[in-house]
Symmetry: C2
Subunit: 291 residues, 2 copies
Amino acid sequence: MPSGRPAEVATPQPGDPALARLSLNQKTTDRWSVAEAVDGCVRAGLPAIGLWREPVQAIGAGAAARLVADAGLRVSSLCRGGFLTAVDPAARRRALDDNRRAIEETAEVGAACLVMVVGGLPEGSRDLAGARERAADGIADLVPHAAQHGVRLALEPMHPIFCADRGVLSTLGQSLDLAERFPAEHVGVVVDTYHVWWDPDVLGQIQRARGRIASFQVCDWITPLPPDALLSRGMMGDGHIDFRLLRRAVEQAGYTGDIEVEIFNADVWAADPDAVVATMARRHLAHVLGD
Amino acid sequence: MPSGRPAEVATPQPGDPALARLSLNQKTTDRWSVAEAVDGCVRAGLPAIGLWREPVQAIGAGAAARLVADAGLRVSSLCRGGFLTAVDPAARRRALDDNRRAIEETAEVGAACLVMVVGGLPEGSRDLAGARERAADGIADLVPHAAQHGVRLALEPMHPIFCADRGVLSTLGQSLDLAERFPAEHVGVVVDTYHVWWDPDVLGQIQRARGRIASFQVCDWITPLPPDALLSRGMMGDGHIDFRLLRRAVEQAGYTGDIEVEIFNADVWAADPDAVVATMARRHLAHVLGD
């Protein structure tokens, strides 16, 4: 059941207040390198970018930091740490080491937070409660390193479609239960519309998240779901989510940070990245901003 | 990430206590008519069947009732009513009329409950709260008819993957919030492992559901998710769900009714239905029963 036609507006140009908090998550223009994505943000007048570790590592965190600084961009997030649910001690140690490096990269690029996708069930395991405990233990292990580097971990509740294989944090409430064990400056949460829109308690939990919202990400839930569930995210306006409702809620909860557009979608990735950024800016104005 | 190999045991034969509460939901053997499914249950020694309206209507509810009665089977549920979220008054009236017929069919076949899938967002709508309200209003409209016919409506929380296009009741807690507005003998809930297994609060909500559990359905969450999400249900043991945990929880909450196997899956539908029923009985013994 496709939703109604997306509203269309003229593309906001550089300097337009509609762009003041709009951030391009690098995954939305997956084929662009850090340098290309930074240039793309500058061309389009976007003030912020969300980086991914792999393209950052391809040039080194120091070089990435210089690129964004020279362009005058904020780094709204670095994606991603996590995957902390392994049972095997050696695998767990590797995961923690890798997360410590991610924390250092987050500090080096000056990102507002490190997005944490905590991981799914280990191969062959059906012990969901155990996986959730290990994820919580892993966060506890990492907080001191994050604090030492001035980095904020951002726990991302994942849509339950990913509970088995990607993220056992399934709701914002559950993520806050975990985040609240730690100081808010070291552990916050991500509110990603795609992951939380269905939750009957989402508005109450966003309100509860005051002071903990480290990142607000937007993309749409589209139907029919594409064959690869991982690529089922849609451009705002192409699906079923009421973005204004959720944006107003995070703002009422005190969030004033960037609004990051993160879309995993084969059609979006096949399109010209500059056109994707322009569409994103129009849809942001038409579907996310305003009353 | 596929889970571990399913445990295998010998197929329980008719009279085996392992089959005492096992019910075949007709959708699991989708190509069988009511008569064929009833015969299949008898051959395999199953004491109960879950019927669907379309095959029942193909022969008439009276004829279906006689078939199951002559075979000595219980009818653990009739699937399904619901789809109550339309905004258009005429569409809403049609939905309510159809649900009243479904209630009458439930009484006629003597099913333990009528499974209610409340419906998704209407075409083009992003008003999730509104859809949830209309679903609740529709249930309220139907309760008197259900009471008059001695039928129990069973509200089915649907996995959030179906929130947009199928069912805006997304959690057991939300379903109980609605069910508790009405007498327990008229409105209960379905606990379907596939829909609820991911919920961090599922055990607490199952405990809360004491006296309200109208149906317990089992099938597995498999990964990778098949291309058609609607057909992504797996045979018990093929996926990630801890069935014993959830079965013990519903039993501790006082549920002593049938355990219905409902699987939408292209591979299962392509297999010989008698073999599917035998596999189902083995997997029930190996993965659902026991401590």
